[in-house]
Symmetry: C2
Subunit: 395 residues, 2 copies
């Protein structure tokens, strides 16, 4: 197993005056806490005996019923029985890894890749093969080469991707590539895990069809309440074919018996109240404002040798520095200057990505984002100047 | 992986008019829901931003601080940093299995064994060796033989036991055997997982020293809020040495990032309010009354060929029928007569225990317990009569 640099950093920066461009924490300030209090009181008064008891391993049925409507927003047709409730999207990935991966099994992941997914897959000793993304997501030609080469060697258990505003890259898989990806996976008899935590948080342009809309049988869809409601509940879900779901339920029983009946009921009350869509609109407009602040600040303060992604939704942008730069080493200097980011290395299973960084615009106010990026720009420019003078001196 | 007969049954009987002597569900009716509502309101009003956000993987620090005092009741000395918060005791067992067990590794479990522990260990493909309990718990001489024989073959990763009012047997490990167990484990260089969900629920006699009091270095202690507060929170904990805890925290990150910040805060408020000890007293007096009802009814309605354990705490008694009886097959007849129990077979990894049953007295009212046992007694007597007449006919 590997330590998660993201989580370790979060622990440090949470307790300080550091501008946390590292944390992928939702902007929970936008929630209506009076409504949440109302939901909690209702649950305790009317349904306390069940809310504080054990529940079915597959999840609280009324929550699954109202998730059918939430999934419809994503164009996904499911019945309550198609849905398994998990402790956040992270447990969904862990359970999928648990039922699919034996030590040494091959899976394919996009890179840079959500570090929690890498942790889950590697904790079951998967052999993680990678396919890089560009500004249109997973590079299909490279994927095809990998599939063709690896499938001669061994079965490929699944392909993992975050098609919408990916963590950490911020890029979105184009519609043409979605069709190509789905047809490639079919051709090679491989499942796809479609992880879609940010899908509803689109700032501009039209929603693209999700992979599961293109191929219901071959795609396992993972969703979460963490970004549409709150991560403190630990509520996520998997939509999967029956045969897989049965195994997942047994996995869930062995993992923790069931998710919290109380927080499942809170999620049920939230998604049953039509006002949650107003909260969603608030989230979108805040994140869009923050994204604009970050892109503007990057344009102003980062040197021209640095490039970054232009996310149309979600929480993150991904900056690529000159190849000689090392963002892991640079982090100490950043922390000294009271600003944090996540070094790129953790998002690659092979230790590459050393010249990249994840910048989160989700939880920090716009002025702080500008100040943080300004500080980082100064550090990067200074390090580039030092490198250049050292390099010139050597010649 | 294996299906959990306990959980599957629970799902069926929860929706019907069946007397659920199967369910190990706490008597949550004894909770003071007004207090819980007060805690929830306080958390949402004063600490909503953190309660609904992600938290540290190791757990909410103030909860760990107040668990230090809860652990003291069990005679266990720990600092907050020694504690890792998990999603109930079940996730504690899953994470321990995850970090210790590679496919084929040997572990030793008492039998009959908590079925959730078996599920957790088997889901990581452990080779589960068993040692039976008698009325004084784990049989130490058999354990010593096993250790001596197996340790020649391969390292034994750990010994799993529930020393107090075990699930499902209801028996308690005697003090002398506790000392012997701890010293045996030391001699053979094997860890012990001490699972203590019911420890505070003692009806009579003195609390015995826990294993961890006898050997701090070699014992991993698992506790839970499920029986002292409520299982609907999904809050448990592990007390373990530093080197193991670091691995567990990485496992927890990969499994679900962190436990719910909201339910952790509810547990914190509950255990910080001295009145929780009144609730605990209420639990104990209710369970004792139910236990008395069950033992009385067993005496009255079960035939003399059946024996059962006499628990001095906890939730369960364990009945052993004549060897020719099959409790898995008999369950259909019991369900027809609107009473449920858990067949013994699920508590053994090798499919033995077919003539045993777990009878839970925790959640059912005394009159219902008496009625349920009366119905079961009738079924057992009838089946014994049939067997005898058939057997005699054969001769």
């Amino acid at each position: 197993m590997r330590s998660s640099e993201v989580r370790d950093l979060l622990d440090v920066t949470a307790r300080s005056d550091i501008i946390p461009l590292a944390a992928g924490a939702p902007y929970v300030k936008a929630l209506n806490f009076r409504d949440i209090e109302k939901y909690a009181r209702k649950i305790i008064a009317e349904d306390g005996l069940s809310a504080f008891q054990y529940g079915p391993s597959g999840g609280f049925y009324p929550l699954k019923m109202c998730l059918v409507d939430v999934l419809k927003l994503d164009g996904i047709v499911a019945s309550p029985d198609d849905i398994l409730i998990t402790d956040g999207g992270q447990q969904a990935l862990d359970l999928l890894a648990k039922i699919f991966i034996d030590p040494g099994d091959i899976i394919i992941a996009e890179v840079p890749c959500y570090v929690g997914a890498l942790n889950a897959f590697l904790s079951y000793q998967a052999r993680v093969e990678t396919v890089p993304v560009d500004e249109n997501g997973l590079q299909i030609e490279i994927l095809e080469d990998k599939l063709s080469q690896l499938s001669r060697e061994k079965e490929i258990k699944f392909i993992y991707t975050v098609p919408n505003f990916s963590n950490p890259s911020g890029v979105t898989l184009s519609f043409d590539r979605r069709k190509e990806l789905v047809s490639l996976a079919r051709r090679y008899g491989t499942l796809i895990i479609e992880d879609n935590p940010y899908g509803r948080l689109r700032f501009e342009g039209e929603h693209l069809k999700n992979l599961r809309q293109l191929d219901e049988e071959n795609i396992i869809y993972v969703g979460t309440a963490s970004k549409m409601f709150a991560p403190g509940l630990r509520i996520g879900w998997i939509v999967a074919p029956f045969s897989i779901r049965e195994k997942l339920i047994h996995g869930k029983q062995a993992a923790d018996l069931c998710s919290s009946n109380f927080t499942q009921r809170l999620a049920f009350e939230y998604f049953s109240d039509p006002r949650w869509k107003n909260t969603l609109k608030k989230f979108i407009s805040i994140y869009k404002e923050h994204r604009d602040a970050m892109l503007g600040a990057l344009e102003e303060h980062f040197p021209e040798e640095v490039t970054w992604s232009h996310p149309v939704g979600g929480f993150f942008t991904w900056a690529t520095l000159p190849e000689y730069m090392n963002t892991t080493e640079m982090l100490a200097e950043a922390i000294t200057n009271k600003v944090a980011y996540v070094p790129g290395r953790g998002f690659y299973p092979d230790g590459s990505g050393t010249n990249c960084m994840r910048l989160a615009f989700c939880t920090v106010e716009s002025e702080q984002i500008e100040e943080g990026i300004k500080r980082l720009g100064k550090i990067i420019k200074e390090q580039m100047r030092l490198y250049r003078s050292f390099y010139r001196g050597k010649k």
